[in-house]
Symmetry: C2
Subunit: 317 residues, 2 copies
Amino acid sequence: MANTSARMLRLLSLLQTHRYWPGSELAGRLDVSPRTLRRDVDRLRELGYPVDASRGVAGGYQLQAGAAVPPLLLDDDEAVAIAIGLRTAAAGAVAGFEETSVRALAKVIQLLPPRLRRRIDALREVTAPGVLGGGPTLDAGVLTTIAMACRGEERLRFDYAPRDGEPAARFVEPHRLVPLGRRWYLVAWDLDRGDWRSFRVDRLAAPALTGARFRPREIPGGDPAAWLRARMTRIPARYDVSVVLEIDAEPVRAFIGHYGTVEETTAGSCRMRMSTDDLGWPVMVLGVLGAAFTIESPPELRERARATGETLLRGAS
Amino acid sequence: MANTSARMLRLLSLLQTHRYWPGSELAGRLDVSPRTLRRDVDRLRELGYPVDASRGVAGGYQLQAGAAVPPLLLDDDEAVAIAIGLRTAAAGAVAGFEETSVRALAKVIQLLPPRLRRRIDALREVTAPGVLGGGPTLDAGVLTTIAMACRGEERLRFDYAPRDGEPAARFVEPHRLVPLGRRWYLVAWDLDRGDWRSFRVDRLAAPALTGARFRPREIPGGDPAAWLRARMTRIPARYDVSVVLEIDAEPVRAFIGHYGTVEETTAGSCRMRMSTDDLGWPVMVLGVLGAAFTIESPPELRERARATGETLLRGAS
DNA sequence: GCATTGAGGTCAGAAAGTGTCCGCAAGCCA
DNA sequence: TGGCTTGCGGACACTTTCTGACCTCAATGC
């Protein structure tokens, strides 16, 4: 009966929770004889989840890392923590991990009981993007709804405000979410227009799952990201920043993390490069580092630094 | 035999992956008759994981959100994404979620196959804390090793550099990781000294699991966080920043997120408050917002703003 | 050496899981 | 409306597994 499966899951859960259990206690909790427990442990091992055992007084069982990821049995707090972590990662806190994170997030959110979803939503303000982003603020709820639609192959309705023109309702077969530059795009088959379209997620509002499933079409070329890049005739204007700082490379590197690169020029001086569409950000960096610097490019950065410096001096006096 | 359990897990995995499956295909993949598939689905339902079914042409099965979190069956990418997300959250990217995140992270890391751990470690630089932190850079590997020791009730060795004095090897029974202020502390029973001690994680190096288990002692009072707070005679000096800005509250709020509070004073002006031990941070905010401001406190902030302003002007000229 | 704790073989009875066959119900479409 | 598809679930016979009891053996720590 389901008894065995359920018991195996409970056993896995116990082993995941506490890490070390005497056999007698496990047997007691699962309400079986020690012999059966040993058989259950064997079953887990056969499934590829290595369970370590040690004998003697204070012996016990312990789940070890194996070749495959065992089914994760999470309690509420852990599930919420995972969802929150994925959401921040998807929102761009971890460069290069947005897409994977949002896919995993869609999976987790989908499986989460409503009460946990509410808890996560309630934490929206706590996890407000704040300074980090630089990019436009993006509602994680919108993103996950779309991701769920892509995943579940469900038709999607939403309001879309194109760059120039009135907002209008759209009805699409969502295909893929693609992060490009600092923005998210939805690549979808537009049902009204009968063609592939891309939508900037930050211009998209009130996405609603329709429940209607569809058989996914194949996008020309097969790669949504490539299709989108090819379609984007112009990428948003960006500044390539280059500044020489009279300070060792190391603290600079530690400070800016992956937001830019730092190369040593001479001892005690280094060149920092970054690519950004918001000059406020490199100015912040320069100000906080506090070292003397020379701006190589772009000229606009010089102007911006001057303006910021004057603001600060006025306020400080 | 284990067949049934294994098949149930595979079924769960399939249902988690694609979201919608025709019964015949599921039966085919699991290599059982449709009747047995129906029975398996029933079993899942009995376990509390609601499986939706729809009839008619193009009918199928679909896993829905239920009352409990089902066992998460993750593929490699998803597992890595979850670990990365938790790590950033634990590193302080999500205020108030450090502890829960690090606990969940310890669980996940513990279960992850070595090859995935390596992938995650390789991503360390990608997820470099960068600007975010403000606090001292903390090696996530150190944190998770300690968390695993706490979780597994394993004795721990490490090198510790006290504020004043030489680094020395320590041998402890780890009890709990506690985030306090902007720092992490390990509360542990010091085996050499035979007493409870707290250790700042950022002063701790080369933690090593010994594999030796112990029966956890009870900490006086029962609450490690309370114990630690009581023990910390002085908390790190902090500045309470208060600045009036000649700008609407809304953009300020959007910019600083949860790092501080903003109240409207008069139309077109607002007061920003934050508590920090690093004045560089509020200065950055003031500089980037670009609005005229008046510093109410602390006086040190005025000095810092002046210095930063001068640096920027020098560099810009 | 002794107590503790896990490993694992064997056995018999109990309890499942399984496929086949069946009639039924619900959705979709012509 | 009728026909098709797909899921639902009862009944049955058969097979397989599961379980607890009992036993001996093997590590481990004191």
